[in-house]
């Protein structure tokens, strides 16, 4: 992939440190380096997947891209401009769907359309409903406009969440393990849907995942993060040829080879993270593994 113009997203030596709340064992508190010196360019329209062991700062990186937090060192650039806060040029899809339970599917999708748009104009109620229907249709949920989230299955909820992110037409889709909570069948189905949506809309997608197969299957490139502090260990370009027809790509020799490559890159890091007992860094900057007892049961 040649990048002659400015990259869509550009990370320059990103570092992020959290101050850990004082605990009984460490009354003065401590610091936790989540990310260290990450430099990465993503081209417009690229699908990049990001894998890394638990606690390697994947979500932190996504928060930085979304503008929910600011890096301590380095700069995050989108279209050559520094990210200073959240914006509608970027959308986030969360693992836990984050749908507003008091809104119907259609109202959830039109949530991001309610403020003034990029041209400063507000959409009328009818235009918003129209747009919501279009995007629910795109994710295969036509006819579910009036359902409340609790009436939808996990896969449908995530479809609604994706539709909500697409509805205000951002250039970049940031996805934080969006399919991790779904069953295997639904996950594969949604992976294919996502690829289809990506091809039709031409969005730039950064997709965080735990699954190596998922990363290889979806991404044009797979970025592998090291265990804490998260550093960029390697970038694996994925070339699986044309993805047409009913071919089972996952059993293709090229796929297996790529999967193994990512696996071996990740394997050492996962071991390291496990030995150190790393767990997910929570949004407030604390990590449960700061206390000795390790909880590995929860699918983070």
């Amino acid at each position: 992939m040649t990048q002659n113009s400015t990259p869509k997203i550009s990370l320059h030596t990103i570092g992020k440190t959290f101050t850990v709340r004082p605990t009984k064992d460490a009354p003065l508190g401590s610091t936790l380096t989540a990310l260290d010196g990450i430099t990465l360019d993503v081209a417009a329209g690229e699908f990049l997947t990001l894998v890394g062991p638990s606690g390697s700062g994947k979500t932190t990186l996504l928060d930085l891209l979304a503008g929910l937090t600011r890096p301590d060192t380095g700069r995050v650039l989108v279209d050559g401009k520094e990210v200073t806060g959240p914006g509608k040029d970027r959308a986030v899809v969360f693992q836990q769907y984050a749908l507003f339970p008091w809104r119907t599917a259609a109202a959830n999708v039109s949530f991001g359309l309610e403020g003034p748009g990029p041209d400063g104009k507000r959409l009328s109620r009818r235009e918003r409903a129209e747009r919501a229907r279009t995007y629910l249709d795109l994710v295969g949920l036509a006819g579910f406009e009036d359902r409340y989230p609790h009436e939808l299955s996990g896969g449908m909820k995530q479809r609604v969440a994706i539709a909500r992110s697409l509805a205000y037409e951002p250039d970049i889709l940031l996805m934080d393990e969006p399919f991790a909570a779904l069953d295997a069948q639904t996950r594969e189905q949604l992976q294919d849907e996502l690829l289809r949506i990506w091809r039709t809309t031409g969005k730039t997608i950064i997709f965080i995942t735990h699954g190596i197969e998922e990363a290889v299957y979806l991404g044009q490139r797979v970025a592998v993060l090291s265990s804490r502090p998260g550093r960029l260990k390697a970038i694996v370009p994925i070339d699986l040829g044309e993805r047409t027809g009913e071919r089972d790509i996952r059993s293709d020799p090229a796929f297996v080879e790529h999967r193994h490559k990512v696996w071996s890159l990740l394997h050492d890091e996962v071991l390291k993270a496990q030995q150190a007992g790393h767990a997910k860094i929570l949004p407030d900057g604390t990590a449960p593994d700061q206390t000795p007892q390790t909880l590995s049961g929860k699918a983070a």
Binding site: P86, F94, F100, Y148, P149
Partner: protein, 300 residues
């Protein structure tokens, strides 16, 4: 709906592969699936009678007890139900009851309204600004744990026996349940929803309006319902102490004038009013939290 047939008799039905696939030991027809309609009517009728049974029994005891069980002296102080209802009829016919009811309703509605508006606003502020919470919380704890009626003399001394003191004490009593529930409601907003809204670039004001408030509404309404009950409770007591109209005044005045059936008529009205207010608020609450059918809808 057909008569209950044993599933093992019809192994060819495609709808029940689970039951017909392998012989279930001693397959029992599922009870309650094909009951005749009449039987179900009788059952629901019986349920309604059983549900109202305790109330009917109590009313019957009220009617018959004073007539046959109690000595004549007691009958004066505890007149049977029909005498009370007759007194109630007379009070309504003369328009007295309506006047008292109107006076009470005006006071409790004004006090209740003031309390709800101010408590919701203060609750939102306290829940949002931690510093304000730390500053106000000790004081609020002191006031909250001071029985409202204990302050009645203070209100009367400072504000007289007129409407102002009545409305104030109602507002005081109704204030705390709403305040505490508003704080709890805002505190328990799913942080993920806030993150999702933030990633959309919502300002603080619209975050409040579109995420925090709707999410806290069910909890706030629980407080409002509690406030409704306590506002009537406190008002009646306040009217008993010093007033020229109102249901509390009616009760006390009837007692001191030895119009015992009138007194019971007043008490009955208070009971019915309390019930009506509660049902009304439950209805409103249900209407505003329809989406909350599944408790804890944010399944992990």
């Amino acid at each position: 709906m057909s008569a209950p047939t044993l599933t093992t008799d019809t192994p060819l039905t495609p709808q029940s592969p689970a039951t017909s696939g392998r012989p279930v030991p001693g397959s029992i027809p599922v009870p309650g699936t094909g009951r005749p309609l009449v039987l179900r009517w009788i059952r629901s009728g019986a349920k309604a009678v059983w549900g109202a049974g305790a109330v009917l029994l109590f009313l019957l005891l009220w009617e018959l007890g004073p007539l046959y069980l109690a000595p004549a002296s007691t009958r004066v102080f505890l007149p049977p139900l029909h005498e009370v209802l007759a007194a109630l009829g007379t009070l309504i016919a003369k328009g007295q009851l309506q006047n008292h009811l109107a006076a009470s309703l005006t006071r409790s509605a004004s006090g209740f309204g003031i309390a709800v508006v101010s408590a919701v606003i203060l609750g939102l502020l306290v829940a949002w600004y931690g510093a304000l919470d730390r500053f106000l919380n000790p004081l609020l704890e002191v006031f909250r744990n001071t029985a409202a009626l204990a302050l009645l003399p203070v209100f009367t001394l400072l504000l007289g026996i007129g409407e102002t003191s009545k409305i104030s004490i109602v507002a005081y009593a109704a204030f705390f349940p709403v305040l505490l529930n508003t704080i709890a409601g805002v505190r328990t907003v799913d942080p993920l929803l806030i993150r999702a809204a933030r990633s959309l670039g919502l300002s603080n004001v619209s975050l409040f309006q579109k995420v925090i408030l709707p999410s806290a509404v069910p909890t706030i309404f629980t407080g409002i319902r509690m406030a409704g009950t306590s506002s009537i409770l406190v008002l009646i007591a306040a009217e008993m102490v010093g007033a020229k109209a109102g249901l509390g005044y009616l009760i006390v005045n009837a007692q001191s004038s030895f119009l015992i059936p009138d007194m019971y008529a007043g008490i009955l009205t208070v009971a019915l009013l309390g019930l009506a207010v509660n049902y009304l608020l439950v209805g409103v609450e249900r209407r505003f939290s329809r989406w909350r059918t599944a408790v804890g809808s944010g399944t992990a």
